[in-house]
Symmetry: C4
Subunit: 210 residues, 4 copies
C-alpha cells in the first residue's frame, strides 16, 4: 500500500538568490585580485627588453601572493558551494552571517597587496600578520555560516546527520591553523605564508565532492 | 465540488532578469567598496614592521567607512530581495526607477572614499554631509521602487494586502532618518556617522524574513 | 477534433547563457562607471570644510558625464532585454556580433572619463567627439545584433511579424542621431552632449514593454 | 512494445553553479580589460583640442591590445560554453582545473597593459613574450579542462563519441600555436601579435555551434 506512506514533498530551495549573490561576490573578489598585478615602471629614457624582463621578474612576490589568495578564495567558493547544496531555507540571521563572510572575502585583495608591496622589506612580518589575521577572521566567519546553515530546519530533509557531522568537522581546522600562522608571522613571514599555501593545497586535495 | 472553484494559474515571474541584473550591480558595488582600502605608502628608505603597523592602524577611518557602507548596501540588497519576492510583473517605469536606485548604489564607494580621506581633517563635516546626502537619495529611490513595484497589477495575487501594507510602512523610516543625519553632519560628523551605523544595525536586527 | 491540430512544441530557449553573460557585462560596465568619480585632492596643509565643498562642486562635469553614461547603458540593457525576449536560438555569428556590442559597452567608462577630465578645457570638442563617436559605434553594433537575432530561424515562432518589424524600426534612430551629435561636437560640445542626454530620456520615456 | 525499452532518465545537470561562476569570472575579466584604457594627461596649462586628439591617437597600442585580448577572452568564453554544454557532472578535480583556467583568464589584463605600455619602446619583445606566454598557459589549461570534463562519467550520455573526439581535436591547435608566437616574440613582436590576432579571428570564424 504505497499510499500509506505520506510522501513529504521536497521543499523548494529558497537559497537560490543568496547563492547567486555569494557567487557574484566571490567571482568579483577573485577577479579583482589580478588588479594588484601592476605594470612595472622603468626609470630612464628608453626601457630595454632586459630592463623590463628583470622588472617583471622582481615582481614575483606579487605573483605568489596573487596565486595564494586566488586559490584560497577558490577553495572557499567550492566549500561554500558544498555547504549550500544541502541548505534549503534561509533566514535573516543566515543572510547577515553570510554577509560578514562575503565582506571579509572582498577584503582579501587588500592584505594581498600589502604582502606583495612589503614582502622584501623589513616590514614583511607586519604585512604577513595582517594577511594571516584576515584569514583567521574568514575561518571564523565560515564556521559561523556553517553553524547558522547546517541546522535541521534549514536543511534538505534528505540530508543524513552523518554527512552534516562530517561537514561540520571538516571546517574545524581553519581558524586554529590560521591562528598558528598569525602567531608565527611576526617571527617568520616565510613560514606563515608557507602554512597559508599548505592549507589551500590541503583543502584542494581533500575536497571530495562538490 | 472543488472543480467549481476556477483555479487561477499563478502568473509567471517576469522579474527574473531585473532581479539578476540588480543582484549583479549590488554584488559589484559592494565588492568595489574594498578597492578603497589602499596599501599605505611609507616614506623613507626601509619601512620597519612598526612603521607599517602604525600606517595600517592610521587607516582606521577607511575600515570604519568601508564597514558601514558594506553592511548598509547588504541590508539594501536583502530588502530589495524581500520586495521583489512578491513582485511578478515589470514595466518600463519600474525598470527605470530601479535603475535610479542602482545608480545611487554604484555611487556609494565615492562618498565612502571621501569620508575615509577627510575624516581626520577639518573638512570632515562636508565629507559626512555628502555621505548622508547620498543615503537620503537612496532612501527616496528605495521608496519610489516600492511604490512602483507594490501595486496590485505587479504583484503575486497571493500576496495579502496586510503584508504589502507592512512592507510599505517599514520603508518609511529611511528618508527622514538619513535627512536628520544629513542635517546633523555639518555640526557633528561623529553623531551623523553614528546615526548611519545605528540604522543599518537596526535594519539588520529587525529584518524578519527574506 | 483538437488532436488533428499538431501542437508545435515551443522550442527550448538556448539564449540563457548569452543573456546571463551579457547581463553580467552590462552590470559590471555600468558599475565601473562610478570608479571615475574621484576623491578630490586639496592642496595645502589642512583642507577646510568649505574647500572640500567647492572641490566637490567643481567636479560637476564628472557627475553629469556619469549620469548620462549610466542611463544610456541602462537603456541599452533594457532594450537588449527586449530583443532577446523573443530570440530562442543562438549561433556563432550572433555570439560574436553580440560580443562586439559588449566590447563597446565596456569601453563607455573611457570616453566618459575623457569628457569629465576635459569638459572645462579648450579640448572639450575633441573629448565630446570621442564620446559621441563611441555611441555611433554602439548604435551600429546594436543594429547588427538586431539583424542577426531577429531572423525567423532564431525567433520564438509565436512572435508576430508585426512586432518584429516594430522592433527593427525602433532601433533605426540611434546611429544617425549619434552621428549628428558627433558632427556637432567639434563646434558645440554642449549641444552634442545635450543630444546624447535627450536621446536616453527619449528612449527611457518611449520604452513600452520590457 | 516501447515499454520494453527502459528509458534512461537524463541526468540532472550539476554544472550550473560552475558555469555561472565561470561566466561571472569571464564577464568581469573581459570588462576589466577596458580599465587599462587610460585618460591621457596633457602637460601644459590649457590642453587644446588638437593636443587631446593627438594624445588619444598616440594610445593606439592600448586600443589594439585591448581589442585582441577582448576577442580572445570572448572566444574562450564561447568555447568554454561549448564544452560545458555536454558536461553533466562535476568533481573536485574539474573544479580546480577550471579554477586554474579562470585564474589565467583574470590575469589577461596584466600582460595586455604591459604590451600597451611598452609596445613603442625597445622593451616590446619582452612585453609581447610575456603576453604570448600567458596564452600558452591558457591554452594548456583549456586543454586540461577539456581532458577532465570530456570523460564518459562526466558527460551527457546522449553525446556521441564522434562529437567528443571532434571537440578534443579542435583544441589541440592552441598551445603549439601560442608557443610559436612566444618563440617568435623576442625577434619580432609585430609578427607574434599578428599570430595572436590571426588565432582569435580563426577561432571566431570556425566556431560552428555554440
Amino acid at each position: 500500500m504505497p499510499e500509506a506512506i505520506p510522501s513529504v514533498p521536497k521543499p523548494e530551495k529558497q537559497t537560490t538568490r543568496l547563492e547567486a549573490f555569494s557567487d557574484g561576490v566571490f567571482a568579483i573578489a577573485i577577479t579583482l585580485l589580478a588588479l594588484e598585478l601592476k605594470v612595472p615602471h622603468i626609470d630612464g629614457p628608453e626601457p630595454t627588453a632586459a630592463a623590463l624582463a628583470s622588472a617583471l621578474a622582481r615582481e614575483w612576490p606579487s605573483y605568489l601572493a596573487f596565486l595564494t589568495s586566488f586559490f584560497t578564495v577558490l577553495v572557499m567558493w567550492v566549500h561554500h558551494h558544498t555547504i549550500f547544496r544541502v541548505v534549503y531555507r534561509t533566514d535573516a540571521k543566515m543572510l547577515f552571517i553570510n554577509g560578514l563572510l562575503l565582506m571579509l572575502v572582498t577584503v582579501v585583495p587588500f592584505p594581498t597587496a600589502v604582502v606583495a608591496e612589503y614582502w622584501r622589506t623589513p616590514a614583511a612580518p607586519t604585512a604577513v600578520t595582517l594577511y594571516c589575521g584576515v584569514f583567521v577572521e574568514i575561518g571564523v566567519a565560515f564556521y559561523l555560516v556553517l553553524l547558522s546553515a547546517l541546522r535541521p530546519p534549514m536543511l534538505d530533509p534528505e540530508t543524513s546527520p552523518a554527512s552534516i557531522a562530517r561537514l561540520r568537522k571538516s571546517y574545524r581546522l581553519g581558524p586554529p591553523a590560521y591562528l598558528i600562522a598569525t602567531a608565527v608571522a611576526p617571527f617568520s613571514p616565510v613560514l606563515a605564508m608557507g602554512i597559508c599555501t599548505a592549507l589551500w593545497i590541503l583543502w584542494a586535495v581533500t575536497t571530495r565532492e562538490c
